[in-house]
């Protein structure tokens, strides 16, 4: 793969500066990790709009909600599990129930803290935040998505959770593609089967599609960057037209992309599915790419799963 590689956190940080130039109400909030969360350019450019709190994510949720009541647009960026699982109740009550215009960015999501173990890996974040009424959940699939999602979040009124990873990721989307919250995007058209992928492993799904195309197969690939609200029409159309769906995510199968799509299809158009991700266990520790391999998330593994499903 020769695609241009970009750092997701840096991409987010630069996009936030871009958004903040447009929206003077944006403030950035840190929990002792402003640099690691890509906020250095923001901090340097808008020092009076950056607030450091130290390691107190539960309290920070409340501070963000309180600031939002005074018409600020807080962007709180820190390590994914500590802005989701740790302060879940505050996310639900202060941001969801109170409907406050706060943007939470969980970085190093999924397995990307591969060596630091289950306390730092974040496999349940999308699933748990998705249960909160009124909260938008975004999991961008490449650096273009990250930039566009950041700008879209800033313009969107209401609480948003965005998950980004950590290792550099390839550019897959066109710089001028029409990003819209809640709308998926067909990256490869085809009628044999549909692969729906999200976030950091969209690139692995894209690799799988290339391998399958080389074998003469025509899989459809959909980038779902918004887990909630889910693009129902795009998924239902794919189910009707291709009869089989494979979901690919760096997350628990329960409640994330696969769970969301299974809920939709079970109610609206029951369709055979395979779900690729991590199934109800604490992930192992190790090098990131090798961990992906442990859970069937490498390109050739995804291709093999899809092929087996087609031949079943």
């Amino acid at each position: 793969m020769n695609a241009l590689m970009k750092d997701p956190r840096k991409t987010f940080g630069e996009a936030l500066v871009e958004a903040a130039e447009k929206h003077p109400r944006i403030v950035a909030v840190s929990a002792d990790s402003s640099s690691g969360s890509g906020l250095t350019p923001f901090r340097e450019k808008f020092p009076e709009r950056h607030f450091e709190f130290g390691i107190m994510e539960q309290g920070i949720m409340g501070f963000c909600a309180g600031m939002a009541t005074t018409d600020k647009i807080p962007f709180f960026a820190a390590i994914a599990p500590f802005v989701t699982a740790r302060p879940f109740e505050m996310f639900r009550n202060d941001l969801g129930y109170m409907r406050q215009n706060v943007k939470v960015v969980g970085r190093c999501g999924g397995l990307t803290y591969s060596d630091l173990g289950a306390t730092h890996q974040s496999l349940d974040d999308m699933a748990i935040i998705r249960t909160i009424p009124g909260v938008t959940v975004i999991n961008p699939g490449d650096p273009v998505d990250i930039r566009k999602a950041t700008l879209a979040m800033a313009a969107h009124e209401g609480p948003v959770y965005m998950r980004i990873g950590s290792p550099k990721m390839p550019v897959l989307m066109d710089e001028d593609y029409p990003f819209q919250i809640g709308r998926g995007h067909v990256l490869a058209d085809g009628g044999d089967i549909t692969i729906v992928a999200t976030g950091t492993v969209l690139c692995k799904a894209a690799e799988a599609v290339r391998l399958l195309q080389e074998k003469g197969l025509r899989p459809r690939l959909i980038n779902i960057h918004t887990i909630k609200p889910l693009d129902r029409d795009l998924i239902l159309t794919a189910a009707k037209e291709t009869s089989r769906i494979v979901t690919v995510e760096e997350a628990y199968l329960a409640g994330g992309l696969g769970g969301s799509i299974a809920e939709l299809l079970a109610r609206e158009y029951p369709t055979p599915m395979k779900m690729i991700g991590i199934d109800d266990r604490y992930a192992e520790v190790g090098p990131y790419e090798e961990l992906l391999g442990l859970y069937g998330l490498k390109g050739e593994q995804i291709a093999a799963t899809v092929e087996a499903f087609l031949n079943a």
Binding site: M56, G59, C64, G66, T70
Partner: protein, 309 residues
């Protein structure tokens, strides 16, 4: 009455006599007729609470009754709020951290004209705007959705920060219970408020010394409470939280120390003025009978008579 005040950083001394005067510092005090009026208002607020109890049959009366004097002073003498413009950006904010005391909040908001007092009779009914914990999207005048204990201080801190950013003079007033002080996020917020020098906020700890399962010191002691707040960087005073003048004098004297958030530890009586209920943990949450309510209303009438005399 002599009350110990812990305000080492204050230009004022540690002793407060008659509630209103620190050595060398004049503090605000009510005129006699003002005081009578406010005492009558406090009776009215308790009556509203009983009115909701009549409608809903059950509610957190103990903490609502212990907080009535603080609410009376804040809403009638201190806070700059306008019922016709509940979202006015320059308003003072009131955050009810102990959300279960909402009966006191509904009572004062109705009395101040934020909404039609007839709504008080919907307490306990299906889809009422007056839930067992407050919802800012259902009633004007409510600033936060509290109820999950120990977290209002963080939200209040964010408000104070936002107001400072905008260089608004508005202040943030917070009412906390003493039982909820065991929650950890309070202390995250306390540290952050002091670190960020939020001297535009004032916390009242409605210390009625009781929580559901017993005396607060027995359930989870946070004594010495004043020292804890001091250690977190707050300027602390302690008062009789049933004394309107002491509440008034301190609420109008903030920041107690420039650059620091202020906290008043207000010693109160749980279920104050509820005959048979005062200082009893059983009245944290009360299921009232008609007879109970009649007796409680009778007691309020007696208090009103004494006040007016």
């Amino acid at each position: 009455m002599m009350v110990t005040v812990n305000a080492p950083d204050s230009p004022c001394k540690r002793q407060l006599s008659d509630g209103n005067r620190y050595l060398g510092c004049e503090m605000k005090t009510y005129k006699t007729d003002e005081l009578v009026e406010l005492k009558k208002t406090a009776v009215k607020l308790r009556r509203n609470i009983l009115r909701m109890m009549r409608a809903g049959r059950a509610g957190h009366i103990g903490g609502a009754f212990s907080a009535v004097e603080i609410m009376t002073v804040l809403y009638y003498s201190v806070m700059n709020v306008d019922p016709r413009r509940p979202r006015w950006p320059d308003r003072d904010r009131f955050v009810l951290s102990a959300g279960h005391k909402c009966l006191a909040l509904y009572s004062v908001l109705a009395e101040k004209g934020f909404f039609d007092p007839a709504l008080l009779d919907t307490y306990g009914s299906l889809k009422t705007a007056l839930g067992g914990h407050p919802d800012m999207h259902k009633l004007p005048g409510i600033e936060t959705n509290t109820g999950a204990l120990g977290h209002g201080l963080s939200i209040a801190g964010g408000m104070a920060m936002g107001l400072k950013m905008d260089r608004r003079d508005a202040r943030v007033y917070v009412l906390m219970g003493d039982g909820e002080l065991a929650e950890g996020s309070n202390w995250e917020a306390a540290a952050a408020a002091s670190h960020h020098k939020l001297d535009n906020m004032l916390v009242f700890v409605d210390r009625n010394f009781l929580q559901i399962s017993g005396r607060t010191v027995d359930v989870m002691s946070y004594e010495p409470l004043d020292k804890r707040w001091e250690a977190f960087g707050w300027s602390v005073r302690e008062i009789d939280g049933g004394d309107l003048n002491q509440i008034y004098a301190n609420a109008t004297d903030i920041p107690f120390t420039p650059g620091k958030p202020s906290v008043v530890i207000a010693n109160t009586v749980k279920a104050k003025d509820l005959p048979f209920g005062e200082d009893k943990r059983e009245f944290h949450y009360w299921k009232a009978t008609d007879e109970d309510l009649a007796a409680a209303e009778q007691k309020l009438s007696e208090i009103e008579e004494v006040v007016t005399r």
